[in-house]
């Protein structure tokens, strides 16, 4: 990821790591931050970082439940 140092660590310390189930709550316009729901908690992350999070949809789930990949 072409991001500053410690960014991945920071996401990880917030509990966002490979294999977690997340739900996108919203995204602000003009490349604003994306808000995610993770373990019942909202976290907001900058647009650039969020574009580096790969997700794959959970099977058999109608709402926007996604799964992070690396």
């Amino acid at each position: 990821m072409p991001l500053q140092d410690g960014c991945a660590e920071r996401l990880e310390a917030l509990g966002l790591r490979v294999g977690k189930v997340i739900e996108k709550v919203s995204g602000m316009p003009f490349h604003g931050p994306v808000t995610l729901l993770l373990d019942g908690r909202q976290i907001a992350i900058g647009w650039k970082i969020s574009s580096c999070i790969l997700v794959s949809p959970l099977k058999g789930c109608f709402s926007a439940h996604d799964r992070t990949g690396s």
Binding site: Q4, E12, L14, R17, S26, M28, R41, A44, G46
Partner: protein, 579 residues
């Protein structure tokens, strides 16, 4: 360590898990707590007596990890590495998994640990059941469920202080740590399904791309309206009549006693304005010196902090960070910089201190400089509304509009010129909570008391200084020296130099002085803008020096003076085209 010496107790945990509330409960020392991450950026100390032992209790700033990613976390890492006789790890029961990451890092350092499983009431409410006995068994350290804001479980926690232990061995590699945490969670936590409540819907709407903006604008507009309404109401219906009815007779008697004129009379009571005393214009210690801080400024300070405390404790501020992130990114900051900036509207000092939550030193420099240039504190704003508002609200709008544009333009310039990048926002958004009236009242009281203790002596000192400078001819000398800048560039009379220089002490009283000079509306606006933007008041100056260091503070001051003059001249030219 001998039995007599004080033992050291650390309170550590993730941001916004209730450490400060717990600290206040344990020590009786009032720590400011709010509902957003990063309220405690330095650390606080207090004392706890427990049977024979005296404990020195340290409220460690909130950290997600001991591999620091910002200054607050650096402080936390240092405090933990210094060691302690016991560490209370405060865990947020509603986000146990993430909280255990830091707990494991602390336990890895083999310090005697006990765990306060905090906010168990909120967790239960959210359908999260945690088995504390099982957690205690797995970790090998005492675990006590607590609710720090109500005090539930705290005496049990302190009773078990002697049982603090290093606990089981924990894995030190990151992957193993998460795997171990996963196993713990599986065994101690059960999550029940729960329907969306109204609060949940409001939380989602507040960061929605459309509704978030609508709510944000509504909240800001409503806040400022409420602050002005309450501030003005307090002045017009309570404090001004009180001063005129009760204090005026005392002053009249004092004036008569002092002979109605002369040096001492002018210092204590002030000059007579058209044969009588005018609280706003006489500039005596007992007249303007008390009227400005108590009647004109205090009501706005109280209403501002009441509003801010509510928004803080409800948990709204981090949502503003989300809404403003895209805008702030264009001036080199990320959205969370909105929180220090809002604090700056009360007083620049806590605002600049709060920039410590920002990630890079570049970002902190930009944020601190922008706050001191373009964020007017409550005292200054009260006087802008009071003095400039007297000639029409349109002029107040010109002042605010210029400050806002300067903030945007200067931010953009700094972002372009300074090397480095603007870091991305990564912020946890706390759930909304109904604030406790008691906690909010206490916080309001501490802030208002702080204002009072600091502002009143400085205003009095400023007025005293002005009287002496006038008498000694220093004001006249400075006015002559600075006349080219003031009359040439800004189109102001030379006497405006005095008040603008007085701004070094306190800006509110300086606006009060400007108002006595009989300036034209355009001149008053230009002078107020220059005064607001140029060098900071003494308290802000000291905190800027401490936070930025001498060299970067000097750079910041240079930027302030240049932007103040640029804005002053530009507004002068624009107004002269029109008027």
């Amino acid at each position: 360590m001998t039995g007599q010496a004080a033992k050291k107790l650390l309170l550590a945990g993730n941001p916004n898990v209730g450490k400060s509330a717990l600290f206040t409960r344990i020590t009786g020392v009032h720590a400011v707590s709010s509902n957003y991450p990063g309220t405690t950026v330095g650390f606080l100390e207090g004392w706890l007596r427990r049977s024979e032992d005296a404990w020195r209790v340290i409220d460690v700033p909130g950290a997600y990890t001991l591999t620091p990613t910002n200054e607050a976390e650096e402080v936390a890492e240092r405090l933990v590495n210094d060691g302690a006789d016991a560490v209370i790890i405060v865990l947020d029961a509603t986000a146990l998994e993430r909280n255990l990451f830091l707990a494991f890092q602390i336990m890895e350092r083999r310090l005697p640990v006990l765990i306060a499983l905090n906010m168990v009431d909120e967790a239960r409410h959210k359908g999260i059941d945690i088995d504390p006995e099982r957690l205690e068994e797995l970790l090998g350290v005492p675990v006590v469920p607590t609710v720090a804001v109500t005090g539930e479980g705290i005496s049990r926690l302190l009773d078990r202080l002697p049982e603090a232990s290093a606990g089981r061995d924990v894995p030190s590699s990151r992957e193993d740590r998460w795997a171990a945490i996963g196993q713990v969670i599986e065994q101690v936590q059960k999550v029940r399904h729960r329907h969306h409540t109204l609060m949940d819907k409001l939380e989602d709407a507040s960061v929605n791309s459309f509704w978030g903006l609508v709510i944000g604008i509504a909240v800001i507009a409503a806040s400022f309206t409420a602050i002005r309404f309450a501030g003005e109401g307090l002045i017009e219906n309570l404090l001004d009549p009180l001063f005129n009815r009760l204090w005026m007779p005392v002053i009249n008697a004092a004036s008569h006693y002092l002979g109605g004129s002369g040096f001492l009379h002018d210092i204590v009571v002030g000059r007579m304005i058209e044969g009588s005393i005018d609280f706003e214009q006489s500039f005596g210690l007992l007249t303007t010196g008390l009227y400005v801080p108590i009647v004109m400024v205090l009501p706005y300070v109280v209403s501002f902090y009441a509003m801010l405390s509510f928004l803080e404790d409800f948990g709204y501020l981090p949502r503003l960070a989300v809404i403003f992130d895209a805008l702030l990114h264009r001036i080199g900051l990320h959205g969370f910089a909105i929180v220090p900036s809002l604090l700056g509207f009360g007083c620049n000092v806590p605002g600049i201190l709060a920039t410590r939550v920002l990630d890079s030193s570049r970002e902190r420099f930009i944020a601190a400089t922008l706050i001191s240039v373009a964020v007017p504190c409550a005292g200054l704003q009260a006087m802008i509304i009071g003095a400039v508002g007297e000639i029409g609200m349109k002029w107040v709008a010109v002042v605010y509009g210029t400050l806002f544009l300067s903030w945007l333009i200067l931010g953009r310039i700094l972002h372009t010129l300074l090397p480095g990048y603007s870091p991305e926002l990564i912020v946890e958004i706390p759930p909304y909570r109904i604030p406790s009236m008691k906690a909010m009242g206490m916080k309001l009281w501490m802030r208002v008391r702080g204002f009072f203790l600091e502002a009143v002596p400085l205003v009095l000192g400023g007025i005293l200084l002005i009287s002496f400078m006038d008498a000694a001819g220093i004001t006249a000398f400075l006015s002559r020296m600075l006349a080219p800048v003031f009359s040439g560039l800004l189109g102001l009379p030379a006497e405006a130099a005095g008040p603008i220089l007085l701004g070094i002490l306190r800006k509110d009283v300086a606006v009060g002085m400007l108002a006595t000079l009989g300036l034209s509306p355009a001149q008053l606006v230009v002078a107020t803008i220059t005064l607001s933007m140029t060098f900071p008041c003494i308290a802000t100056f000291i905190v800027l020096w401490r936070e930025l260091g001498g060299k970067r503070m000097a750079a910041s001051m240079g930027i302030m003076i240049v932007s103040a003059l640029t804005a002053g001249v530009t507004v002068r030219l624009l107004l002269s085209l029109n008027v």
